[in-house]
Amino acid sequence: MSYPKFRYAVPKTVRDAVEILHAATEKGEKAIVLAGGTDLMVQLREKSLVPDLVVDISRVTSLTKIERMGNEIRIGPLVTHSMLASSDLIREYVGVLSEAARTVGSPQIRNLGTLGGNIVNASPAADTIPALVILDAQLILTGPKGDRTLPITDFFEGPYETVIEADELLTGVIVPLPPPSGRAIFLKLARRKALAIARMNLACMLYYNRQKEVFEWVRLCVGSSTPRPVRMTEAEKILEGQPFTDVVLQKAGQAAAEQMVALSGLRSSTAYKKPVVGDLVIRAVKLAVEKG
């Protein structure tokens, strides 16, 4: 299979990268950003993407760091899934993201694929996104006019559609440290046990107060179920302030299922996904509570 012809640029700094993207855009050219390449290379092979220019940002070393700064973890978009899975900082403070990254593709894909790529590609089945959503992550986009920061949920417009401009680059993912009381769970559901795209995935973090016997707070996000990633706020509301009982859990599951259908409409997959969303929410909440 031959690949489409394009020019290739390999900037070393964010500034150069943005300048190149901007200049190409001004000329009316299609310029695309190459990070790990695990999505892009497939699109090039299929020729579903035919760029004039490929801007390879993998040499922009400032984008490969994982740092803790005060009450937040800053993750460079070039951090790979393998790095997320093995990083002590990530595992200690935002383990759910590490768990999510561990389920991506295969060892080979995890070594190449990046967090930034997973976000910007905006697949509804992306494994890291539900984790980032419940972690209240913020994204930094850098364009010719400077930076803008937005909550991750504001980044997506639909499947494979985001608000990023053609001359903007995702340059940082900021994850505020979750409260130490929080217990988190990531579940992935796929047709086989490895090397699989999520049929559904779910990230959940909650604080269950054992003294008061109530959920103090709950954050839930189910991937591959809604047109763009959102928190399952209806289910969260039902749980918060309530005790850990089957009746409450059932209601929360039901609410999550209904919210999914309200956002996605009835589709051929609804017959499967609707009951599963509900039951998965229940399972995740139980597992999180069992974590102590």
Binding site: R7, A23, L195
Partner: protein, 166 residues
């Protein structure tokens, strides 16, 4: 900023199987095609071209990757090991020996990639459990063996240590 943004032809300088390689190539190629066509390293196989089968697995800067998922210019500055760089008939790597001893090969098309995944796994985790071995080779599809003799082979090297081969 120069008038022309980017280049259609790029120069790559890489260390492949211990040999330094310099070449010029159109940018719109994969590392897989460079390794197979330009460097004649045909132990790197193409099975799907979309990162799903693992037949083109090579070790790049210490990590296993699908060569079909790497745009050729990304090879610049990289250190790459293919099956040809692991060992030859006079000097087999312990994993190659173990694959022979355990009959862990049938059609053999997945074998080079499988062995490289096993090597990267053992480099990182010298004493994996059988489940960890399965996880470590989960990006390498094999349709012939059912994996069991492969897991046996890798486990035998993990148990016996592979210091001599490193």
């Amino acid at each position: 900023m120069e008038e022309k943004l980017g280049e259609e032809i790029v120069e790559i300088s890489a260390m492949v199987n211990g040999t330094s390689v310099v070449l010029r190539t159109p940018a719109n190629r994969t590392m897989l095609s460079i390794l197979r066509e330009d460097l004649h390293l045909t132990g790197v196989k193409e099975g799907c071209g979309i990162g799903e089968c693992g037949a083109c697995t090579v070790i790049m800067d210490g990590k296993v990757v699908n060569a079909c998922m790497v745009l050729a210019p990304k090879m610049d500055g990289a250190t790459i090991t293919t099956i040809e760089g692991l060992g030859d008939e006079e000097n087999l790597h312990p994993l190659q020996k173990a694959f022979i001893e355990h009959g862990a090969v049938q059609c053999g098309f997945c074998t080079p990639g499988m062995i490289l995944s096993a090597k990267a796994l053992l480099d990182e985790k010298p004493h994996p459990t059988r489940l960890e071995i399965r996880e470590g080779i989960s990006g390498n599809l094999c349709r012939c063996t059912g994996y069991q003799q492969i897991v046996d082979a890798i486990e035998s090297v993990a148990e016996g240590g592979m210091e001599e081969g490193r």
